[in-house]
Each structure stands twice: as C-alpha cells, then as structure tokens.
Symmetry: C2
Subunit: 113 residues, 2 copies
DNA sequence: GCTGGATATTATGTTATACATACTATGTAT
DNA sequence: ATACATAGTATGTATAACATAATATCCAGC
C-alpha cells in the first residue's frame, strides 16, 4: 500500500529488526518478507530498504556478510546483533505505547482486525 | 513521552485534525489537549506544533483566525475546514490499515489497553 | 510597582529518513 | 539472443520533528 508519505516513518527500522530476529536474510528477500508478513500492507521500496540496512549496520544493530549462493550469485546476508535485539525490544515497547496513545485520542479505533 | 525521534512522524497531523474536529482551538491549548486526550502519552513541542499548524493552514485543511479574549490577549484560533475533514477521514483509514499491518508483523502486539 | 511564572506566538536552523530514479550486474527461461 | 526477475549501489529531493531563542502578555504575591 502507498501510505501518505510520512506515515511509515520511524516504523520501518522496527519492522526490519523484527523480521531479522527470525533469522538472517538478504535485502531483496527481506523486502519480500515484509510484504508477505504484513499481508501486502507494508511495502518498502529498495530506495528505502537498502539505505536503511546500511544505516542499521553502521549503528551495529545488524551485521551484513557477503555470501555466494550455490548459483554463484552474491548476496549480502544481514543478521541482527545483540545490540539490535535490545533496540528492537525498546522500540516495540515504544510502538505499543504510541498505539495506546492513539487509541485514547481516537476512541479505540485501531484494534487489530 | 519522548518517542524515538521519528516514530511520531506522520501521525502528528492526524492527531491535530482529529482534535480540531471537536471544535476550534488555539495553538497552545491544542498542545495541552493532545497531551490530556492521549493520557500524557503524546506530546508535541511548540517547535513541532506551530509549524505544523502553518503547514495545515497553507494546505487549507485548517483555518486560523485572530481573536482577542476578554482578557485582551490575542490568540490564533484554528478550526478544521471541510477539506480538512476529508483529509482526516482518509488519514484515519490509512492509520487503521497501517496498524493492522503492524499487528500482522508483530503477532497482534498492538492491542489497545 | 515589580518580579516570577504561566501563557502565547514567531523565527531559524538541524537532522533524519522515506522515496524516486537511474545505473550496474547476474541468473534463468524461452 | 533476449527478456525478465533478481540483487545491490549511488545520488538527490522533500518532508517533518525537534531544539532553541526571541518576543510579548497576563496574573499572583510581595
């Protein structure tokens, strides 16, 4: 889905960390996993996803490692670090608080389907 | 609450529009209303709120009008426009979809308290 | 009357980041 | 060969949340 530009801001890293906490993935695969796991609701373009991964790596929340598949194709596999796990927990708690604040303002409109 | 910087992005305008849909308010009052209505969870600094109001006014989603209270103090009262109401409805729908996507990814963690 | 604190708005600058776009390159199927 | 999906890099833009500082008004207590 195409969200009103900025709506996604800030939640992208949490989503990426959450999915990586299930095991290493490379960028392209990650992009598809996000789409699949969110029921096609969330989509991150490569122009968003790759720079985000560089950024998370610079902060040592994920670690990237080049690997060649048996097909010979090179992929950069990202795995979450211990620091990343901590950050994920913190951000999840914040998201939870944020949505509860939203639900107060909007009268509990954002209940999961 | 101080959220991890960017987490709030994109939701601030929706919150402002929602509260203004209950009647006109001036900036300072609005800031406090947001805090109160969200149970002290959401806070917008003046450096965020006022520029946001200018922006919403430029987009004709709200209309500002100078008024002097009986105390003589000048305040700029903002009211939501018809266009603003439409935008509010659209953005609320998007927020709802976004949170349902998040709940899919995180296994329904964001249920209102 | 003066001083401190809450109220109220404006102005300026910084930073983070979502996104578009374009480019390079490889693997697979036709 | 060639088209398409895959895979990653590079560059530039626009937006918006925030900090901070400046300005000004009202009110209470001394």
């Amino acid at each position: 889905m195409k969200f009103e530009s900025q709506l996604l801001k800030g939640i992208a890293p949490v989503v990426v960390l959450e999915i990586l906490s299930g095991g290493p993935m490379y960028g392209y695969e990650l992009g598809q996993a996000i789409e699949r796991r969110s029921g096609q609701i969330l989509t991150l373009g490569k122009g968003t996803l790759y720079p985000l991964l560089y950024n998370l790596e610079a902060k040592k929340l994920v670690r990237g490692k080049w690997q060649s598949s048996q097909s010979g194709r090179k992929r950069r596999y990202y795995s979450i670090t211990a620091k990343g796990e901590g950050e994920l927990a913190r951000q999840k708690a914040q998201l939870k608080e944020l949505t509860s604040g939203l639900n107060l303002v909007f009268g509990g409109a954002f209940v999961p389907a």
